[in-house]
Protein backbone atom coordinates (compact mmCIF):
# COMPACT_ATOMS: atom_id res chain seq x y z
CA UNK A 1 0.00 0.00 0.00
CA UNK A 2 1.36 3.46 -0.91
CA UNK A 3 2.03 5.89 1.94
CA UNK A 4 0.28 8.72 0.10
CA UNK A 5 -2.36 8.14 -2.51
CA UNK A 6 -4.49 10.62 -4.43
CA UNK A 7 -7.48 9.48 -6.45
CA UNK A 8 -9.09 11.75 -9.02
CA UNK A 9 -7.56 14.79 -7.37
CA UNK A 10 -8.76 18.02 -8.96
CA UNK A 11 -8.62 21.69 -8.15
CA UNK A 12 -9.89 24.61 -10.18
CA UNK A 13 -9.47 28.29 -9.50
CA UNK A 14 -12.28 30.23 -11.18
CA UNK A 15 -12.42 27.86 -14.10
CA UNK A 16 -8.66 27.33 -14.34
CA UNK A 17 -7.88 23.63 -13.84
CA UNK A 18 -4.73 23.79 -11.73
CA UNK A 19 -4.87 20.06 -10.96
CA UNK A 20 -6.90 17.75 -13.12
CA UNK A 21 -8.02 14.25 -12.16
CA UNK A 22 -4.66 13.27 -10.77
CA UNK A 23 -3.86 9.77 -9.48
CA UNK A 24 -0.51 9.60 -7.72
CA UNK A 25 0.89 6.85 -5.49
CA UNK A 26 3.89 7.53 -3.34
CA UNK A 27 5.47 4.38 -2.02
CA UNK A 28 6.73 4.24 1.54
CA UNK A 29 10.47 4.60 1.75
CA UNK A 30 10.87 6.05 -1.73
CA UNK A 31 12.13 9.36 -2.99
CA UNK A 32 9.50 10.58 -5.36
CA UNK A 33 10.10 13.47 -7.75
CA UNK A 34 7.42 15.80 -9.04
CA UNK A 35 8.43 17.83 -12.08
CA UNK A 36 6.77 19.98 -14.67
CA UNK A 37 6.97 23.42 -16.22
CA UNK A 38 6.15 26.60 -14.26
CA UNK A 39 2.48 26.77 -13.43
CA UNK A 40 1.89 23.07 -14.02
CA UNK A 41 0.37 22.62 -10.56
CA UNK A 42 3.20 21.24 -8.42
CA UNK A 43 2.78 23.68 -5.55
CA UNK A 44 -0.98 23.37 -5.82
CA UNK A 45 -0.57 19.61 -5.34
CA UNK A 46 1.39 20.31 -2.13
CA UNK A 47 -1.26 22.72 -0.92
CA UNK A 48 -4.02 20.19 -1.58
CA UNK A 49 -2.26 17.40 0.26
CA UNK A 50 -1.46 19.58 3.28
CA UNK A 51 -4.96 21.04 3.53
CA UNK A 52 -4.06 24.60 2.56
CA UNK A 53 -6.53 24.33 -0.34
CA UNK A 54 -9.73 22.32 -0.41
CA UNK A 55 -9.84 19.93 -3.38
CA UNK A 56 -12.82 19.84 -5.77
CA UNK A 57 -15.65 17.38 -5.03
CA UNK A 58 -14.89 13.81 -6.08
CA UNK A 59 -11.22 14.01 -5.07
CA UNK A 60 -9.70 11.63 -2.54
CA UNK A 61 -6.44 11.80 -0.63
CA UNK A 62 -5.26 8.94 1.59
CA UNK A 63 -2.27 9.02 3.87
CA UNK A 64 -1.04 6.09 5.91
CA UNK A 65 -4.48 4.50 6.06
CA UNK A 66 -6.35 7.75 6.79
CA UNK A 67 -8.65 9.67 4.50
CA UNK A 68 -7.26 13.20 4.78
CA UNK A 69 -9.20 14.74 1.91
CA UNK A 70 -11.04 17.21 4.13
CA UNK A 71 -8.82 17.20 7.20
CA UNK A 72 -7.58 20.53 8.55
CA UNK A 73 -3.88 21.26 8.10
CA UNK A 74 -2.92 20.81 11.73
CA UNK A 75 -4.33 17.28 11.79
CA UNK A 76 -2.52 16.38 8.59
CA UNK A 77 0.70 17.62 10.14
CA UNK A 78 0.07 15.59 13.26
CA UNK A 79 -0.50 12.44 11.17
CA UNK A 80 3.04 12.73 9.85
CA UNK A 81 3.24 14.95 6.79
CA UNK A 82 5.75 17.79 6.92
CA UNK A 83 6.51 20.18 4.11
CA UNK A 84 8.61 23.12 3.12
CA UNK A 85 7.28 26.07 1.13
CA UNK A 86 8.55 27.43 -2.13
CA UNK A 87 8.57 30.83 -0.38
CA UNK A 88 9.95 29.29 2.87
CA UNK A 89 7.49 31.03 5.22
CA UNK A 90 9.75 30.89 8.24
CA UNK A 91 8.79 32.42 11.58
CA UNK A 92 10.97 35.38 10.88
CA UNK A 93 10.95 37.14 14.27
CA UNK A 94 11.57 33.95 16.18
CA UNK A 95 15.04 32.58 16.73
CA UNK A 96 16.43 29.67 14.75
CA UNK A 97 16.07 27.41 17.79
CA UNK A 98 12.50 28.53 18.38
CA UNK A 99 11.66 27.83 14.74
CA UNK A 100 12.57 24.18 15.13
CA UNK A 101 11.13 23.98 18.65
CA UNK A 102 7.76 24.93 17.17
CA UNK A 103 8.24 22.20 14.60
CA UNK A 104 8.54 19.70 17.42
CA UNK A 105 5.36 21.12 18.88
CA UNK A 106 2.98 18.22 18.45
CA UNK A 107 5.36 15.90 20.24
CA UNK A 108 5.42 17.78 23.54
CA UNK A 109 1.95 17.71 24.99
CA UNK A 110 1.73 19.46 28.30
CA UNK A 111 -0.92 21.38 30.08
CA UNK A 112 -1.57 25.05 30.50
CA UNK A 113 -1.35 25.14 34.29
CA UNK A 114 1.97 23.36 34.48
CA UNK A 115 3.34 25.81 31.91
CA UNK A 116 2.33 28.95 33.71
CA UNK A 117 3.80 27.77 36.97
CA UNK A 118 6.82 26.35 35.18
CA UNK A 119 7.15 23.30 37.39
CA UNK A 120 10.21 21.12 37.36
CA UNK A 121 8.65 18.50 35.06
CA UNK A 122 8.19 21.18 32.41
CA UNK A 123 11.70 22.46 32.86
CA UNK A 124 13.00 18.95 32.35
CA UNK A 125 10.84 18.27 29.32
CA UNK A 126 11.78 21.59 27.72
CA UNK A 127 15.42 20.84 28.35
CA UNK A 128 15.11 17.48 26.60
CA UNK A 129 13.34 19.10 23.65
CA UNK A 130 16.02 21.74 23.40
CA UNK A 131 18.78 19.16 23.45
CA UNK A 132 17.10 17.21 20.72
CA UNK A 133 16.52 20.33 18.62
CA UNK A 134 20.09 21.52 19.11
CA UNK A 135 21.21 18.16 17.82
CA UNK A 136 19.03 18.64 14.75
CA UNK A 137 20.48 22.13 14.19
CA UNK A 138 23.93 20.65 14.53
CA UNK A 139 23.03 18.13 11.87
CA UNK A 140 21.87 20.72 9.35
CA UNK A 141 24.75 23.04 10.25
CA UNK A 142 22.82 25.84 11.95
CA UNK A 143 23.72 25.24 15.59
CA UNK A 144 25.91 28.33 15.70
CA UNK A 145 22.95 30.50 14.75
CA UNK A 146 20.49 29.05 17.28
CA UNK A 147 19.93 32.34 19.08
CA UNK A 148 19.59 34.48 15.97
CA UNK A 149 16.24 35.64 14.55
CA UNK A 150 15.43 33.68 11.39
CA UNK A 151 15.12 36.93 9.45
CA UNK A 152 18.87 37.53 9.85
CA UNK A 153 19.94 34.29 8.15
CA UNK A 154 21.30 34.19 4.62
CA UNK A 155 19.18 32.79 1.82
CA UNK A 156 20.86 29.39 1.90
CA UNK A 157 20.64 29.16 5.67
CA UNK A 158 16.93 29.95 5.48
CA UNK A 159 16.42 27.04 3.11
CA UNK A 160 18.22 24.79 5.57
CA UNK A 161 16.14 26.10 8.44
CA UNK A 162 12.89 25.46 6.58
CA UNK A 163 14.10 21.88 6.09
CA UNK A 164 15.04 21.66 9.76
CA UNK A 165 11.68 22.97 10.87
CA UNK A 166 9.92 20.33 8.80
CA UNK A 167 12.22 17.60 10.13
CA UNK A 168 11.57 18.67 13.70
CA UNK A 169 8.05 17.36 13.21
CA UNK A 170 9.51 13.85 12.93
CA UNK A 171 7.36 13.20 9.85
CA UNK A 172 6.78 10.02 7.89
CA UNK A 173 6.47 11.95 4.63
CA UNK A 174 8.64 14.96 3.92
CA UNK A 175 7.48 17.15 1.04
CA UNK A 176 10.04 19.59 -0.35
CA UNK A 177 8.94 22.37 -2.70
CA UNK A 178 12.00 23.46 -4.68
CA UNK A 179 14.40 23.06 -1.75
CA UNK A 180 17.43 23.95 -3.84
CA UNK A 181 16.09 27.05 -5.59
CA UNK A 182 18.67 29.81 -5.60
CA UNK A 183 21.43 27.74 -4.02
CA UNK A 184 24.92 27.57 -5.41
CA UNK A 185 25.94 24.16 -6.84
CA UNK A 186 27.99 23.35 -3.74
CA UNK A 187 25.08 24.16 -1.47
CA UNK A 188 22.74 22.09 -3.59
CA UNK A 189 25.05 19.10 -3.07
CA UNK A 190 25.20 19.84 0.64
CA UNK A 191 21.43 20.08 0.94
CA UNK A 192 20.90 16.84 -0.95
CA UNK A 193 23.41 15.07 1.24
CA UNK A 194 21.51 16.27 4.30
CA UNK A 195 18.18 15.15 2.88
CA UNK A 196 19.59 11.73 2.00
CA UNK A 197 21.09 11.17 5.41
CA UNK A 198 17.90 12.33 7.13
CA UNK A 199 16.02 9.89 4.97
CA UNK A 200 18.30 7.03 5.99
CA UNK A 201 18.33 7.96 9.63
CA UNK A 202 14.59 8.40 10.08
CA UNK A 203 13.30 6.04 7.39
CA UNK A 204 11.56 8.91 5.64
CA UNK A 205 9.56 8.98 2.47
CA UNK A 206 10.39 12.07 0.43
CA UNK A 207 8.40 13.93 -2.20
CA UNK A 208 10.50 16.52 -3.96
CA UNK A 209 9.62 19.25 -6.46
CA UNK A 210 12.70 20.46 -8.26
CA UNK A 211 13.52 22.32 -11.45
CA UNK A 212 17.14 21.25 -11.46
CA UNK A 213 16.63 18.04 -13.40
CA UNK A 214 20.03 16.68 -12.55
CA UNK A 215 18.98 16.59 -8.91
CA UNK A 216 15.79 14.75 -9.73
CA UNK A 217 17.51 12.23 -11.98
CA UNK A 218 20.19 11.47 -9.44
CA UNK A 219 18.12 11.17 -6.30
CA UNK A 220 14.62 10.00 -7.17
CA UNK A 221 13.31 6.44 -7.39
CA UNK A 222 10.15 7.50 -9.20
CA UNK A 223 9.28 10.66 -11.09
CA UNK A 224 5.83 12.06 -11.90
CA UNK A 225 5.61 14.67 -14.63
CA UNK A 226 2.84 17.28 -14.60
CA UNK A 227 1.72 19.59 -17.36
CA UNK A 228 -1.31 21.88 -17.06
CA UNK A 229 -2.31 19.95 -13.94
CA UNK A 230 -2.35 16.58 -15.66
CA UNK A 231 -0.02 13.66 -15.29
CA UNK A 232 1.75 13.24 -18.60
CA UNK A 233 4.36 10.74 -17.55
CA UNK A 234 5.57 8.61 -14.67
CA UNK A 235 8.28 6.08 -14.02
CA UNK A 236 11.89 5.73 -13.07
CA UNK A 237 14.15 8.62 -14.04
CA UNK A 238 15.42 6.49 -16.93
CA UNK A 239 11.93 5.85 -18.25
CA UNK A 240 10.90 9.48 -17.93
CA UNK A 241 14.05 10.62 -19.64
CA UNK A 242 13.23 8.49 -22.67
CA UNK A 243 9.57 9.47 -22.84
CA UNK A 244 9.29 11.82 -25.78
CA UNK A 245 5.85 13.08 -24.79
CA UNK A 246 7.36 14.19 -21.52
CA UNK A 247 10.31 15.81 -23.18
CA UNK A 248 8.12 17.67 -25.59
CA UNK A 249 5.71 19.01 -23.00
CA UNK A 250 8.33 19.73 -20.45
CA UNK A 251 10.86 21.34 -22.68
CA UNK A 252 8.41 22.75 -25.18
CA UNK A 253 9.97 21.26 -28.30
CA UNK A 254 11.14 18.09 -29.90
CA UNK A 255 14.87 17.55 -29.40
CA UNK A 256 17.34 14.99 -30.54
CA UNK A 257 18.83 12.57 -28.06
CA UNK A 258 22.05 14.48 -27.53
CA UNK A 259 20.21 17.63 -26.67
CA UNK A 260 17.98 15.75 -24.24
CA UNK A 261 20.95 14.21 -22.52
CA UNK A 262 22.59 17.61 -22.24
CA UNK A 263 19.47 19.07 -20.60
CA UNK A 264 19.04 16.35 -18.04
CA UNK A 265 22.65 16.11 -17.12
CA UNK A 266 23.46 19.78 -16.77
Amino acid sequence: MPLLETVGLSKSFDGLRAISNLDVDIEAGSIHGLIGPNGSGKSTFFNLVTGVYQPDPGSKIFFDGHDITRSPSHQIGALGIARTFQLLRLFSEMTVLQNVMVGYHTHVPYGFLSTIFNNSAIIKKDAETTDEMMELLEFIGLADYAGMPASELSGGQRRLLSLGRAMAMRPKLLMLDEPAAGLSPVNVENLLAIVMSLKERFGLTVLIVEHILKVVMETCDTVTVLDYGEKIGEGTPEEVKDDHAVIEAYLGQEMDDDEVRATFDS
Partner: protein, 358 residues
Amino acid sequence: MFYRETGQFKTNYQKDQQVFPIAQDRVFVALLLIVAFGVVPFVANEYWLQAILIPFLIFSLAAVGLNLLTGYAGQVSLGTGAFMAVGAYATYKITTNIPEINIIIVFLLSGGIAALVGILFGLPSLRIKGFYLAVATLAAQFFILWLFNKVGWFYNDNPSGTITAPPRTLFGIMISGPRATAEVRYFVALIFLVGFTIVAKNIVRGRIGRSWMAIRDMDIAAEIIGIEPLKTKLMAFAVSSFYCGVAGALSVFVWLGSAETEAFDIFLSFQILFMIIIGGLGSIMGSIVGAAFITLVPIFLTNAPALFGLPISTDLSKHIEEIVFGGLIVYLLIVEPHGFARLWQIGKEKLRQWPFPY
Protein backbone atom coordinates in the same frame (compact mmCIF):
# COMPACT_ATOMS: atom_id res chain seq x y z
CA MET B 1 9.52 42.45 17.42
CA PHE B 2 11.20 39.75 19.38
CA TYR B 3 14.70 40.33 20.65
CA ARG B 4 17.22 38.29 22.39
CA GLU B 5 20.89 38.56 23.07
CA THR B 6 22.99 36.95 20.44
CA GLY B 7 26.23 37.32 22.37
CA GLN B 8 25.39 35.47 25.55
CA PHE B 9 24.34 32.22 23.98
CA LYS B 10 23.36 29.53 26.43
CA THR B 11 24.36 25.96 25.94
CA ASN B 12 22.87 24.91 29.22
CA TYR B 13 19.14 24.75 29.01
CA GLN B 14 18.34 25.37 32.65
CA LYS B 15 20.21 28.62 32.42
CA ASP B 16 18.48 29.56 29.21
CA GLN B 17 15.13 28.98 30.82
CA GLN B 18 15.60 31.35 33.69
CA VAL B 19 13.03 34.10 33.76
CA PHE B 20 15.71 36.66 33.03
CA PRO B 21 18.48 34.78 31.24
CA ILE B 22 20.89 37.68 30.98
CA ALA B 23 22.97 38.82 33.92
CA GLN B 24 22.41 42.56 33.46
CA ASP B 25 18.68 42.01 33.37
CA ARG B 26 18.74 39.92 36.52
CA VAL B 27 20.64 42.52 38.49
CA PHE B 28 18.44 45.27 37.17
CA VAL B 29 15.21 43.45 38.00
CA ALA B 30 16.44 42.49 41.47
CA LEU B 31 17.25 46.13 42.23
CA LEU B 32 13.90 47.21 40.92
CA LEU B 33 12.09 44.74 43.15
CA ILE B 34 14.06 45.79 46.22
CA VAL B 35 13.18 49.42 45.57
CA ALA B 36 9.55 48.64 44.77
CA PHE B 37 8.98 46.53 47.90
CA GLY B 38 11.45 47.98 50.37
CA VAL B 39 11.89 51.65 49.59
CA VAL B 40 9.03 53.18 47.63
CA PRO B 41 6.15 52.53 50.05
CA PHE B 42 8.13 54.07 52.90
CA VAL B 43 9.30 57.22 51.17
CA ALA B 44 6.44 57.94 48.77
CA ASN B 45 3.68 60.15 50.05
CA GLU B 46 -0.04 59.64 49.64
CA TYR B 47 -0.13 61.73 46.46
CA TRP B 48 2.64 59.76 44.80
CA LEU B 49 1.08 56.45 45.65
CA GLN B 50 -2.46 57.34 44.73
CA ALA B 51 -1.91 59.54 41.68
CA ILE B 52 1.17 57.96 40.15
CA LEU B 53 2.38 54.62 41.42
CA ILE B 54 -0.83 52.64 41.88
CA PRO B 55 -2.19 53.57 38.44
CA PHE B 56 1.23 52.82 36.95
CA LEU B 57 1.17 49.30 38.44
CA ILE B 58 -2.38 48.64 37.27
CA PHE B 59 -1.77 49.93 33.76
CA SER B 60 1.39 47.84 33.62
CA LEU B 61 -0.66 44.74 34.35
CA ALA B 62 -3.11 45.60 31.57
CA ALA B 63 -0.23 46.39 29.22
CA VAL B 64 1.42 43.02 29.92
CA GLY B 65 -1.95 41.42 29.14
CA LEU B 66 -2.38 43.29 25.89
CA ASN B 67 1.19 42.60 24.86
CA LEU B 68 0.56 38.86 25.18
CA LEU B 69 -2.26 39.20 22.68
CA THR B 70 -0.89 41.82 20.32
CA GLY B 71 2.88 41.59 20.67
CA TYR B 72 3.18 37.83 20.98
CA ALA B 73 0.12 36.39 19.27
CA GLY B 74 -0.13 39.21 16.72
CA GLN B 75 -3.83 39.91 17.27
CA VAL B 76 -4.56 43.62 17.41
CA SER B 77 -7.15 44.65 19.98
CA LEU B 78 -8.83 47.94 20.78
CA GLY B 79 -11.11 46.35 23.37
CA THR B 80 -8.74 46.54 26.33
CA GLY B 81 -10.86 49.10 28.16
CA ALA B 82 -13.95 46.95 27.82
CA PHE B 83 -12.21 43.81 29.07
CA MET B 84 -11.01 45.82 32.05
CA ALA B 85 -14.57 46.96 32.62
CA VAL B 86 -15.76 43.36 32.60
CA GLY B 87 -13.29 42.57 35.38
CA ALA B 88 -14.36 45.59 37.42
CA TYR B 89 -18.09 45.04 37.05
CA ALA B 90 -17.78 41.31 37.66
CA THR B 91 -15.88 41.97 40.87
CA TYR B 92 -18.53 44.45 41.93
CA LYS B 93 -21.38 42.03 41.25
CA ILE B 94 -19.73 39.09 42.95
CA THR B 95 -18.46 40.86 46.03
CA THR B 96 -21.70 42.75 46.69
CA ASN B 97 -23.77 39.59 46.29
CA ILE B 98 -21.46 37.13 48.03
CA PRO B 99 -19.33 39.22 50.41
CA GLU B 100 -17.99 36.04 52.06
CA ILE B 101 -15.68 35.23 49.17
CA ASN B 102 -12.30 36.78 49.76
CA ILE B 103 -11.76 39.76 47.51
CA ILE B 104 -8.51 38.37 46.08
CA ILE B 105 -10.38 35.27 44.93
CA VAL B 106 -13.07 37.52 43.50
CA PHE B 107 -10.43 39.40 41.48
CA LEU B 108 -9.28 36.11 39.99
CA LEU B 109 -12.83 34.90 39.32
CA SER B 110 -13.54 38.18 37.58
CA GLY B 111 -10.43 37.70 35.49
CA GLY B 112 -11.93 34.35 34.49
CA ILE B 113 -15.17 36.03 33.45
CA ALA B 114 -13.23 38.60 31.43
CA ALA B 115 -11.39 35.68 29.79
CA LEU B 116 -14.69 34.15 28.69
CA VAL B 117 -15.84 37.48 27.26
CA GLY B 118 -12.44 37.80 25.57
CA ILE B 119 -12.90 34.40 23.93
CA LEU B 120 -16.31 35.45 22.65
CA PHE B 121 -15.01 38.65 21.08
CA GLY B 122 -11.88 36.89 19.86
CA LEU B 123 -13.90 34.55 17.65
CA PRO B 124 -13.75 36.89 14.63
CA SER B 125 -9.94 36.62 14.73
CA LEU B 126 -10.28 33.30 13.01
CA ARG B 127 -11.48 34.98 9.86
CA ILE B 128 -10.10 38.49 9.99
CA LYS B 129 -6.73 40.01 10.71
CA GLY B 130 -4.91 43.22 11.48
CA PHE B 131 -6.83 46.40 10.93
CA TYR B 132 -10.13 44.61 10.39
CA LEU B 133 -9.75 42.67 13.62
CA ALA B 134 -9.02 45.93 15.44
CA VAL B 135 -12.34 47.27 14.19
CA ALA B 136 -14.11 44.12 15.37
CA THR B 137 -12.64 44.50 18.86
CA LEU B 138 -13.76 48.11 18.79
CA ALA B 139 -17.28 46.75 18.52
CA ALA B 140 -16.65 44.84 21.75
CA GLN B 141 -15.47 48.05 23.36
CA PHE B 142 -18.62 49.98 22.51
CA PHE B 143 -21.07 47.14 23.03
CA ILE B 144 -19.82 46.14 26.47
CA LEU B 145 -19.72 49.67 27.84
CA TRP B 146 -23.15 50.38 26.39
CA LEU B 147 -24.46 47.25 28.10
CA PHE B 148 -22.97 48.17 31.49
CA ASN B 149 -24.49 51.64 31.17
CA LYS B 150 -27.86 50.53 29.99
CA VAL B 151 -28.63 47.54 32.18
CA GLY B 152 -29.05 48.53 35.81
CA TRP B 153 -28.39 44.99 37.03
CA PHE B 154 -24.68 45.45 36.40
CA TYR B 155 -24.41 48.29 38.93
CA ASN B 156 -27.12 46.94 41.30
CA ASP B 157 -29.58 49.59 40.03
CA ASN B 158 -27.69 52.14 42.02
CA PRO B 159 -29.18 55.58 41.15
CA SER B 160 -25.78 57.22 40.67
CA GLY B 161 -24.90 54.62 38.03
CA THR B 162 -21.50 54.05 39.60
CA ILE B 163 -19.89 50.98 41.09
CA THR B 164 -18.22 51.53 44.45
CA ALA B 165 -15.55 49.51 46.21
CA PRO B 166 -16.93 48.14 49.48
CA PRO B 167 -14.60 47.63 52.45
CA ARG B 168 -12.85 44.27 52.12
CA THR B 169 -10.02 42.74 54.08
CA LEU B 170 -7.27 40.20 53.65
CA PHE B 171 -5.78 38.65 56.82
CA GLY B 172 -7.59 41.37 58.75
CA ILE B 173 -5.99 44.17 56.77
CA MET B 174 -8.27 46.54 54.90
CA ILE B 175 -7.28 46.35 51.24
CA SER B 176 -10.30 47.81 49.50
CA GLY B 177 -12.77 50.58 50.29
CA PRO B 178 -12.35 54.06 51.77
CA ARG B 179 -10.42 52.93 54.85
CA ALA B 180 -7.72 50.99 53.00
CA THR B 181 -4.46 52.94 53.15
CA ALA B 182 -2.59 53.89 50.00
CA GLU B 183 0.43 51.83 51.13
CA VAL B 184 -1.63 48.66 51.44
CA ARG B 185 -3.33 49.21 48.11
CA TYR B 186 0.06 49.84 46.54
CA PHE B 187 1.29 46.50 47.87
CA VAL B 188 -1.75 44.66 46.55
CA ALA B 189 -1.26 46.13 43.06
CA LEU B 190 2.47 45.45 43.19
CA ILE B 191 2.07 41.81 44.22
CA PHE B 192 -0.45 41.22 41.46
CA LEU B 193 1.84 42.82 38.89
CA VAL B 194 4.91 40.86 39.97
CA GLY B 195 3.07 37.54 40.15
CA PHE B 196 1.37 37.95 36.81
CA THR B 197 4.54 39.17 35.15
CA ILE B 198 6.35 36.01 36.20
CA VAL B 199 3.49 33.91 34.86
CA ALA B 200 3.55 35.87 31.59
CA LYS B 201 7.28 35.24 31.28
CA ASN B 202 6.71 31.53 31.84
CA ILE B 203 4.01 31.44 29.20
CA VAL B 204 5.93 33.25 26.48
CA ARG B 205 9.11 31.26 26.76
CA GLY B 206 7.35 27.89 26.69
CA ARG B 207 5.35 26.00 24.19
CA ILE B 208 2.30 28.27 24.38
CA GLY B 209 4.34 31.40 23.72
CA ARG B 210 6.08 29.74 20.79
CA SER B 211 2.77 28.72 19.25
CA TRP B 212 1.51 32.31 19.64
CA MET B 213 4.58 33.73 17.94
CA ALA B 214 4.37 31.16 15.16
CA ILE B 215 0.77 32.17 14.46
CA ARG B 216 1.86 35.81 14.52
CA ASP B 217 4.81 35.34 12.17
CA MET B 218 3.32 32.96 9.60
CA ASP B 219 -0.03 31.41 10.28
CA ILE B 220 -0.13 29.02 7.29
CA ALA B 221 3.18 27.45 8.22
CA ALA B 222 2.15 27.30 11.87
CA GLU B 223 -0.98 25.37 11.10
CA ILE B 224 0.80 22.79 9.00
CA ILE B 225 3.23 22.26 11.83
CA GLY B 226 0.32 21.15 13.97
CA ILE B 227 -0.74 24.37 15.70
CA GLU B 228 -4.49 24.77 15.75
CA PRO B 229 -5.18 28.42 14.90
CA LEU B 230 -8.59 28.58 16.58
CA LYS B 231 -7.41 27.17 19.88
CA THR B 232 -4.20 29.17 19.87
CA LYS B 233 -5.76 32.53 19.07
CA LEU B 234 -8.62 32.06 21.49
CA MET B 235 -6.21 31.08 24.23
CA ALA B 236 -4.33 34.32 23.60
CA PHE B 237 -7.58 36.26 23.84
CA ALA B 238 -8.51 34.42 27.03
CA VAL B 239 -5.18 34.92 28.80
CA SER B 240 -4.91 38.55 27.70
CA SER B 241 -8.47 39.35 28.77
CA PHE B 242 -7.84 37.64 32.09
CA TYR B 243 -4.96 40.03 32.74
CA CYS B 244 -6.99 43.03 31.61
CA GLY B 245 -9.95 41.91 33.69
CA VAL B 246 -7.87 41.67 36.85
CA ALA B 247 -6.32 45.06 36.06
CA GLY B 248 -9.80 46.52 35.64
CA ALA B 249 -10.93 45.06 38.96
CA LEU B 250 -7.85 46.48 40.67
CA SER B 251 -8.40 49.88 39.14
CA VAL B 252 -11.77 50.22 40.85
CA PHE B 253 -11.07 48.31 44.06
CA VAL B 254 -7.55 49.36 44.97
CA TRP B 255 -7.21 52.61 43.06
CA LEU B 256 -10.27 54.70 42.12
CA GLY B 257 -12.67 53.47 44.79
CA SER B 258 -15.62 54.05 42.52
CA ALA B 259 -16.12 54.31 38.79
CA GLU B 260 -18.54 54.61 35.94
CA THR B 261 -18.15 53.09 32.50
CA GLU B 262 -16.34 56.26 31.30
CA ALA B 263 -13.32 55.13 33.29
CA PHE B 264 -12.94 52.29 30.75
CA ASP B 265 -13.68 54.11 27.52
CA ILE B 266 -11.89 53.85 24.19
CA PHE B 267 -9.29 56.35 25.35
CA LEU B 268 -8.07 53.81 27.91
CA SER B 269 -7.82 51.14 25.20
CA PHE B 270 -5.64 53.44 23.14
CA GLN B 271 -3.56 54.39 26.14
CA ILE B 272 -2.70 50.76 26.89
CA LEU B 273 -1.98 50.16 23.21
CA PHE B 274 0.43 53.13 23.20
CA MET B 275 2.16 51.66 26.23
CA ILE B 276 3.01 48.42 24.47
CA ILE B 277 3.97 50.11 21.21
CA ILE B 278 6.30 52.49 23.01
CA GLY B 279 7.58 49.80 25.33
CA GLY B 280 8.05 47.23 22.58
CA LEU B 281 5.69 44.69 21.05
CA GLY B 282 6.67 41.22 22.12
CA SER B 283 8.46 42.31 25.29
CA ILE B 284 7.02 41.73 28.76
CA MET B 285 9.36 44.16 30.49
CA GLY B 286 8.82 46.65 27.66
CA SER B 287 5.12 46.74 28.54
CA ILE B 288 5.99 47.93 32.03
CA VAL B 289 8.47 50.51 30.80
CA GLY B 290 5.89 51.75 28.32
CA ALA B 291 3.31 52.01 31.10
CA ALA B 292 5.78 54.02 33.18
CA PHE B 293 6.39 56.36 30.27
CA ILE B 294 2.73 56.94 29.47
CA THR B 295 1.76 57.48 33.12
CA LEU B 296 4.75 59.47 34.31
CA VAL B 297 5.58 61.81 31.45
CA PRO B 298 2.23 63.67 31.43
CA ILE B 299 2.54 64.20 35.19
CA PHE B 300 6.02 65.57 34.74
CA LEU B 301 4.88 67.82 31.92
CA THR B 302 1.97 69.13 33.98
CA ASN B 303 4.27 70.07 36.80
CA ALA B 304 7.17 71.27 34.68
CA PRO B 305 6.01 74.91 34.19
CA ALA B 306 5.51 75.35 37.92
CA LEU B 307 8.82 73.66 38.59
CA PHE B 308 10.64 76.15 36.41
CA GLY B 309 8.59 79.00 37.83
CA LEU B 310 6.77 79.74 34.58
CA PRO B 311 3.51 81.57 35.11
CA ILE B 312 1.23 79.53 32.84
CA SER B 313 -2.46 78.93 33.39
CA THR B 314 -3.43 75.32 34.08
CA ASP B 315 -5.56 75.35 30.95
CA LEU B 316 -2.71 76.32 28.70
CA SER B 317 -0.31 73.96 30.42
CA LYS B 318 -2.75 71.10 29.84
CA HIS B 319 -2.76 71.84 26.13
CA ILE B 320 0.99 72.21 25.99
CA GLU B 321 1.28 68.92 27.81
CA GLU B 322 -0.82 67.14 25.21
CA ILE B 323 1.14 68.63 22.32
CA VAL B 324 4.53 67.82 23.83
CA PHE B 325 3.41 64.34 24.84
CA GLY B 326 2.03 63.53 21.38
CA GLY B 327 5.18 64.89 19.78
CA LEU B 328 7.35 62.83 22.08
CA ILE B 329 5.55 59.61 21.16
CA VAL B 330 5.91 60.33 17.45
CA TYR B 331 9.57 61.20 17.89
CA LEU B 332 10.26 58.02 19.86
CA LEU B 333 8.60 55.84 17.28
CA ILE B 334 10.60 57.45 14.49
CA VAL B 335 13.88 57.00 16.36
CA GLU B 336 13.13 53.45 17.46
CA PRO B 337 10.01 51.85 16.01
CA HIS B 338 10.57 48.80 18.19
CA GLY B 339 10.23 50.75 21.39
CA PHE B 340 12.15 50.85 24.63
CA ALA B 341 12.76 47.10 24.64
CA ARG B 342 14.99 47.52 21.60
CA LEU B 343 16.73 50.60 23.01
CA TRP B 344 17.54 48.62 26.16
CA GLN B 345 19.00 45.86 24.02
CA ILE B 346 21.16 48.28 22.08
CA GLY B 347 22.21 50.02 25.27
CA LYS B 348 23.37 46.73 26.78
CA GLU B 349 25.30 45.86 23.67
CA LYS B 350 27.11 49.20 23.91
CA LEU B 351 27.82 48.59 27.58
CA ARG B 352 29.20 45.16 26.98
CA GLN B 353 31.56 46.39 24.31
CA TRP B 354 32.60 49.40 26.35
CA PRO B 355 35.26 50.75 26.38
CA PHE B 356 36.16 49.32 23.01
CA PRO B 357 33.24 50.01 20.72
CA TYR B 358 33.70 48.68 17.21
